[in-house]
């Protein structure tokens, strides 16, 4: 899907920074999650070696994705599931819409699914007259508030308890008693959602992993809503990015041990569900010999939407991502501005690579620059994705684009031209010394001209020194023998 207007991180970040209390709320929530993650790994001495193993597992899957996808399809079908291939976002939406229409579905409950956000499924279903309710508590609040999720794991990480209370008052008619504390607010959501679960014709979920050797999907949740969504309605549709496979159940075990620890600091999420096909019925028709629960039909929609374009490229590594959100939590840029600033479902460091990689630099020209390249993301990633390397690769692609500001293009070319000519480089430095020392007070400048004013918006800039180090060194002469 091509965005009609380029999305500007710069503007999105300015909006976030101008929103009262928002940066403080995000910082509070993310630093708490990072602390929990570090505590979990501190108590998990094999964690580091397991990260290497997890990286190898993901590299094998992404490196031979075709074979794993075919295996997954074959095994899923053996167990009675239906597989659908969605090449683009529109295909995914159409496929789910057709499944719903053919079965007369009026009411849908949804588990958390970033892919469904990516393809903008809810809006399409609602346009078709279908009632859609998010059942992950955070997603539910975001849906009530009419906002997209701001974090791939914690959708309302940008909201305080008071903010949620305000949403419940306005949208659910909650009274003071209902929103007095977190437990009562949760109870209210639970009562409301329970009725939705019981009335739903179809459940839509994401999946944390597909397991190729069994054609199963794995869902981890902390609220149990995933179980209800996938077992109670008569039809279950799971959306899955094509890269989200592991080869074996043993590999899944490795990933699960890292996922929850990285995401929230838990050893495991509260619910880890592995679903293999729909409810199996006794061939002779005996209810007693049939499985007691589960949907009549299971559909898995594998969504490509730009992913195969990345295979074999310098950006393929971003497909190793297991969506734990740790890089968002630890990123000082994300901590300062939150997810909405990125203007995309996938935010933070992973989003700054994945979004332009999938949707193009035309749509997201400045996202690769939404980083100081501090490397905290690479350090925390459970599968050791080298995000800074790919940000640089995307910046290199962007540098040749016409929307790179002329002052940067010309300035860096001039700088590089001078840098390989030491005498001219020194002469240019002398000119800069004169220009800066004339205007400096106590050796510092309060304002810089033109685009460099960005620097002096928040900090002073030092004047160049009266004499360079190399000049002082030459003047000093050879060191006195000791």
């Amino acid at each position: 899907m091509i965005e009609p207007q380029p999305v500007s991180f710069h503007r999105g970040a300015a909006r976030s920074l101008a929103t009262p209390d928002l940066p403080a709320k995000i910082e509070r929530a993310t630093t708490r999650l990072v602390a929990a993650r570090h505590a979990a790994f501190a108590a998990f001495p094999e964690g580091d070696a397991l990260r290497d193993e997890a990286r190898a597992i993901r590299a094998r899957v992404v490196g031979h994705l075709d074979q794993h996808l075919i295996r997954f399809e074959t095994e899923l079908q053996k167990r009675g599931g239906h597989l659908h291939w969605a090449a683009a976002a529109g295909d995914a939406v159409r496929i789910v819409g057709e499944i719903a229409r053919a079965r007369g579905v009026r009411r849908v409950v949804k588990g958390k699914s970033m892919v469904s956000e990516e393809v903008e499924l809810n809006a399409a279903l609602e346009a078709a007259g279908i009632h859609v309710v998010e059942t992950d508590l955070g997603e539910y609040v975001a849906q009530l508030a009419g906002e997209p999720p701001s974090h791939i794991v914690g959708p309302i990480i940008h909201k305080s308890r008071e903010d949620v209370a305000a949403v419940f008052r306005e949208k659910l008619g909650a009274g003071d008693e209902d929103v007095a504390d977190a437990a009562r607010m949760t109870a209210l959501a639970r009562r409301t959602l329970r009725a939705e679960f019981l009335a739903a014709d179809m459940g839509i979920s994401g999946a944390n992993f597909g397991i190729a050797e069994t054609g199963s999907i794995c869902l981890v949740t902390n609220e149990g809503n995933g179980r209800l969504t996938t077992t109670l309605p008569r039809v279950h549709v799971a959306l899955l990015g094509i890269e989200r496979l592991v080869a074996t159940m043993a590999d899944l075990g490795v990933m699960l041990r890292l996922l929850a620890r990285s995401a929230t600091g838990q050893k495991l999420s509260v619910y880890s569900n592995v679903l293999s096909g729909p409810r199996r019925r006794d061939p002779a028709g005996s209810e007693a010999a049939s499985e007691p629960d589960g949907p009549d039909e299971l559909h898995v929609v594998l969504v490509d939407n730009g992913r195969t374009e990345l295979l074999g490229t310098e950006l393929a590594e971003i497909l190793y991502c297991i969506r734990c959100g740790a890089c968002l939590n630890t990123c000082p840029v994300f901590q300062s501005v939150g997810g909405h600033a990125y203007g995309s479902v996938y935010s933070g460091p992973v989003g700054a690579v994945l979004t332009p990689a999938l949707r193009g630099l035309d749509a997201y020209p400045d996202l690769p620059h939404a980083s100081s390249l501090c490397g905290a993301c690479r350090e925390i990633c459970p599968v050791r994705i080298d995000i800074p390397r790919m940000l640089l690769a995307l910046r290199a692609r962007g540098a040749r684009r016409p929307d790179t500001p002329a002052w940067i293009r010309q300035g860096l070319r001039m700088y590089a031209w001078l840098a390989v000519r030491p005498r001219l480089f020194a002469a240019a430095a002398r000119a800069a010394r004169i220009a800066t020392r004339i205007r400096a007070r106590d050796g510092w400048l309060r304002s810089l001209p033109g685009p460099l004013a960005g620097w002096t918006a928040h900090r002073d800039f030092p004047a160049f020194a009266p004499r360079s180090f190399q000049r002082l060194w030459r003047d000093r002469g050879p060191a006195a023998p000791r």
Binding site: L17, L373, A376, R395, Y415, A419, G443, Q470
Partner: protein, 247 residues
């Protein structure tokens, strides 16, 4: 023992005291210092901005400057050392004339504190500084080169210095090169957090291994009217004055 000092462009032209201090510390530790002529900029600013070809040209120039002599290279910056140790060999991997030279230079390049502690084995440089300080680990040195233990060890030997803990010490100060100019407000928000942590520590000095981060932090402290001083590790070890004073 003899080394080549790569001052870095920032130290060369903005903070020459830091270069002199680095040389003084090395000489005090019995290391002979040469400053290879023709050194300019390692090319990292171009690389970070996505100007790969420009970065490559500057990396070649730096390799040329550093291969006239085969002595180890010492850099008073984790970020520039990371450029030479990790990025230059990658940038020049396909360049028949430079690939092996880039790898050779990378193998004998050290960030200053790494060199002092791990190569020269001189964790005690005989420095004194009366007062309290916090240490800010610069991101590239910390995460790309593993520089953390060495500066702390050096600082632990500075007489009279009380090193205090810095809250969220490993969080970036928001510098990031052009990031501080292009994404000025986001960078400014990151800087505010860092400055807040520094001031909350009650220390009177903030010490780091990179003048880039320190230029950012010092510019922010000045803007706030803070009294906290900024020192490069080399300055502290040499017992020299603040890096921003004229030499």
């Amino acid at each position: 023992m003899r080394i080549q000092l790569l001052a870095t462009c920032l130290v060369d032209h903005l903070f020459p005291r830091v270069g002199l201090a680095a040389a003084a510390v090395l000489e005090r530790c019995g290391v002979q210092v040469t400053v290879p002529p023709g050194q300019t900029c390692c090319g990292q600013p171009a690389l970070n901005a996505g100007f790969t070809e420009e970065a490559r040209r500057m990396a070649r120039h730096t390799i040329d400057v550093l291969t006239a002599d085969d002595a180890p290279v010492v850099v008073p910056s984790g970020s520039c050392a990371d450029m030479i140790v990790h990025h230059a060999p990658g940038l020049l991997a396909g360049d028949a004339a430079y690939a092996s030279r880039a790898r050779a230079v990378a193998a004998r390049t050290h960030e200053l504190s790494q060199f002092l502690v791990d190569s020269a084995r001189r964790p005690d440089c005989g420095a004194c500084l009366a007062g309290s300080a916090v240490y800010h680990p610069s991101c590239h040195g910390l995460r790309a080169l593993g520089v953390d233990r060495q500066p702390r060890e050096l600082l632990a030997h500075v007489r009279g210095l009380e090193l205090r803990p810095l809250h969220d010490a490993e969080t970036c100060c928001g510098f990031g090169g052009l990031f501080a100019v292009k994404m000025s407000d986001v960078s400014g928000a990151m800087l505010e957090r860092k400055l807040g942590a520094i001031e909350a520590s009650g220390a009177d000095t903030v010490i780091a291994t990179d003048m880039s981060c320190l230029m950012h932090i010092a510019g922010g402290l000045r803007r706030r009217g803070s009294r906290v001083a900024v020192r490069h590790l080399a300055d502290v070890l040499a017992g020299a004055g603040p890096p921003t004073e004229p030499a």
